[in-house]
Symmetry: C2
Subunit: 237 residues, 2 copies
DNA sequence: CGCATGCATATAATCATACAATATGCTCAG
DNA sequence: CTGAGCATATTGTATGATTATATGCATGCG
């Protein structure tokens, strides 16, 4: 997973506390021990702890004030779309209904993105979509397919020329990828969704927004139907 | 604006550097002075500077490594949906086309949210929508209207039961609000969009997702048509 | 008795300094 | 020419001291 935190010490501390909060082990309103104590408990210096706290504070998970201490903030203040926060949820939630929420986001944005791409992608952006599609056609195994598939969706998103949408996509997609290999299926028919992709690709080429939207939606709905229940094993690092 | 940064010293530093990066004064790939120097330049201790750097790093704006220094990362790594990043853009961008992108996001997810709300809002959530609608009906001036209006949209989003969507809404809405008073119009007919809201409200009550979606879309499109060009004055703090 | 005002105190915020870890690139032997 | 290892610059971590800021209590005034 590691969206950002790993190598450094304060990274570990951030993650440790982040997971504790997001998982509910530390509940909103609850106060953390004071810096000195907490630093000792986690066997790090106050410096490292404070840098971690600062990050968590920026993500809206905690709030620190002199005299009163540091408390966990209510969920509505959390930056739910932050890559780390999302990753921590993936590492701690009961999964099922959270995946549903991620898929829901995807169902809303990807079709809209396809429509936008059809409306105003430029030559360079279209070529990237085309290349990705051709790579999918040419793929010889599930790995090649998966790579080209991801590239196709990313290329479509980029063609929207809206970096907010691109960011949302990458965040949601990354989170989903931690649960299962997207578009996965038995290796025998890993190209089953190629026709859907072709429809989307053609619609973008012909600049038919509505067609592109519908094709993308169909693709996702079909994909969801086949993915449901096929989650990956582990996850808890 | 101030999404998070203000009171504290490192908050100021974070904001200062954040704006410099987002505005393009510091470009991707460019290296920042070493900590000691930069700290002196900004007249703060290394501690304060580092806490700010840590936050910017968490937002994907910079990357620090021993020996090589700290560099500005490429835009594709930025957490574009972070409240602060968005705020910094609002404070520095050429505006016009960025607003367009924000509105675009809104046009995509608000109708979808209305549909979801119609499908599965619970009693308590519906009552909040109802109360907001009634407050809009009862409003006597633009201020009361604006408050109830915002509450209406927020209530609809909350009724989706998808906190990712709620978070997205609050982020986008906050950013947009920095440009103009949403749904603003001459005070004489500030209730012009009430019929649209009624349609949405009724559709949710009757659990008609498609009707709710279309009504919300109409509302936004109409609103956009009237808002275009009517931006607020200043902005550049 | 109630209310405002100021003071003591606990906690985070900031600072200064020292030392450790880590990449980078250069040197030098093979 | 190549690769191993060392020097070095920069961030990373640690520690201790000092300052700023809320909170709540005590105190005095109305």
């Amino acid at each position: 997973m590691r969206a950002a935190s790993a190598r450094n010490l304060h990274g570990h501390v951030t993650q440790e506390l982040g997971v504790r909060i997001v998982s509910g082990a530390l509940r909103p309103g609850e106060s953390l021990p004071r810096e000195e104590v907490l630093a000792e408990q986690m066997a790090v210096s106050r410096t490292a702890l404070r840098e971690a706290m600062r990050v968590l504070s920026a993500k809206g998970l905690i709030e620190a004030r002199p005299k009163v201490g540091t408390r966990v903030r209510e969920e509505r203040y959390w930056q739910q779309l932050d890559a780390d926060v999302l990753a921590w949820r993936c590492a701690s939630m009961p999964t099922a209904d959270f995946v549903q929420k991620l898929v829901e986001m995807r169902e809303i944005f990807e079709p809209a993105a396809a429509a936008l791409a059809a409306r105003r992608s430029n030559a360079e952006q279209f070529e990237r979509i085309e290349a990705a599609y051709q790579a999918m056609e040419a793929s010889r195994n599930t790995d090649e397919w998966a790579e080209a598939d991801l590239e196709f969706h990313e290329a479509v998103l980029i063609a929207t020329n809206n970096e907010l949408m691109i960011s949302l996509f990458s965040v949601v997609e990354t989170a989903l990828a931690s649960y299962f290999v997207l578009s996965a299926r038995k290796s025998s028919d890993f190209k089953y969704s190629l026709p859907y992709h072709r429809k989307v690709y053609e619609a973008i080429r012909k600049r038919q927004p509505d067609v592109a939207r519908r094709a993308m939606l169909q693709m996702i709905l079909d994909s969801r139907a086949h993915i449901t229940g096929k989650r990956r094993s582990g996850k808890q690092a």
